[in-house]
């Protein structure tokens, strides 16, 4: 976006949307020229209402999407952090449930939050839950369709699965699942649970929407999560197992089936058709 020329006393240009928009996000700019109050009072006070509406409403959107991040850093820190994110990365779409996709990566580089190295991965987990909540519906394949496949190891190895659109795999070097789960409890229970979380353990989870429309977070071993992620990209089951030998394919399949997350079964797909 091109920068508008700075308004000056010599520049009576009308208040264009470009100038208005620039001043909304850059608090060092005065309100655009060409705006006035009926009583001749300083338009800056009134322009601040628009600025506040923009920033506060977008910070509120992020606070709704990332409630555990907010609890971990506290309301004040979150408000200040989210405000910086909003000013740096205003939405590109009017769909507020798509706003915040970039926050997890941005948090990873946010200097004041480096004392909480897991914060970015917690944000990723919360973003995955929001996506799961709004993703497309899909019918799981009947368990019998897979039972036949499981009886025939040769066919099983070549099979590719289509997984539910709501499913995401989150893997972290930090105990993000335990931290997230503790923050679903009441304050007293949370603190007791947090005291038991081993701070240097890696954790992973499948995230998906269940039949009662809750976005579930189901922990699984990291190797199994890596295998699930490979299956989700369309890799044949045999190849996925080979790439992740320490994972338990039977355990992963059982988990996917139990939660109705297998929505299609096919042979190996041509490489060009595989997608995440």
């Amino acid at each position: 976006m091109t920068q508008p020329p700075a308004p000056t006393a010599m520049d009576p240009a009308p208040a264009t949307a470009l100038r208005f928009a620039a001043a909304l996000l850059d608090t060092s700019l005065p309100p655009p020229a060409g705006l006035h109050a009926w009583n001749g009072s300083d338009p800056a006070v009134r322009f601040a209402v628009y600025r506040n509406n923009v920033v506060h409403s977008l910070v509120a959107v992020l606070a709704d999407t990332f409630p555990v991040v907010r609890q971990l850093v506290g309301d004040d820190f979150f408000g200040a952090m989210a405000r910086l994110y909003v000013l740096d990365h205003p939405p590109r779409s009017p769909l507020m449930h798509r706003y915040g996709a970039g926050l997890p990566a941005w948090v990873a580089d946010f200097e004041p939050a480096t004392a909480l190295p897991y914060l970015s991965d917690i944000a990723r987990l919360e973003w995955a839950r929001l996506c799961a909540f709004h993703a497309a519906d899909a019918e799981p394949v009947p368990v019998q369709a897979l039972a036949a496949l499981i009886q025939a190891p040769q066919r099983l190895a070549r099979a590719c699965l289509e997984l539910h659109p709501t499913l995401a795999v989150v893997r972290s070097a930090h105990p993000v699942v335990s931290l997230w789960a503790a923050h679903q409890l009441s304050d007293a229970d949370r603190d007791a649970r947090l005291a038991e979380v081993p701070l240097h353990s890696a954790e992973a989870a499948l995230i998906f929407r269940d039949a009662s429309d809750d976005a579930l977070v189901v922990e699984l071993p990291d190797a199994d999560a890596a295998l699930a992620a490979a299956i989700a990209t369309g890799a044949p089951l045999g190849a996925a197992q080979t790439a992740h030998p320490e994972a338990d394919l039977a355990r992963v399949l059982s988990l996917l089936l139990r939660h109705g997350l297998v929505t299609g079964v096919g042979g190996p797909l041509p490489a060009t058709e595989t997608s995440a």
Binding site: P14, A15, L25, R46
Partner: protein, 300 residues
Amino acid sequence: MTSPASPPAVLAGVGLKMAHVPALLARGAGAFLGGAGFVEVHAENHMVDGGPMLRQLERVRTHWPLSIHGVGLSIGGEGPLDVDHLDRLDHLLRRFEPRWFSEHLAWSSHGGRWFNDLLPLPYDPATLNRVCNHIDQVQARLRRPLLLENPSTYLGYTGSTMDEASFLAAIVRRTGCALLLDVNNAYVSGVNHGRDPWLLIDTLIEALPAGAVGEIHLAGFAEDRDAAGDRLLIDHHGCAVDQAVWSLYERTIARLGPVPTLIERDNDVPELAVLEAQAQRALDLLHAGTGRRIEHPVAA
């Protein structure tokens, strides 16, 4: 219940939040606002691929008249309309076929950035042309009339050459769109620009063809002061409707007759019954204004 001979032509409703849906469905159509209720949702909240936002709206629309209220079209924007967003609206409206579809006289995006607020426009011939062209495009694409909502504003444009009522009336005449008259916005803007709030409504009603007001909104505002110490009202939809707005509403419906009226609440949202009680007050006023008695359902 209202007798079958006189179906409820007089309607009042609430802006529906997801948290209200279970309570609403549990009530059933007849027990919500005496069978004269309708609901309104924000279009953008339901522009999702699947999941509960769509399923719940499917259920709600089978029981109550539905209004879909857009906040994302930026009809007053300087640039072209977002055709992807128009496509999403078309998809949503064809799926849910609401009784009303409304949007705002405002802009909210520029240069690809989205501000999540309803920003003000200058009232001049160039802006009028642009807004009318956008509304023509919207109505042609969506194949239905649009209800355009009057804004709440905090600043005026020095370059404006028309008053808000003339600007809105010109849009309605040129595009054939209807008006969503937000009485709270009229009050907020009146106070914020040192004008009699009744003046906008009175002038509008005078200038508009009969039946041009398709819906009325009522909401709460917050109060602040500007740099001169004068009242500065902020349209925050975060509290009950103010008595001054109720009074303005009574005058409005005395002139217009019964118009479907909605209670909006977007912040600090209370339970459904609190909003329903406000909608019931609007319903009572609508009936009182038309000289008809309200028949409340007999409690089971």
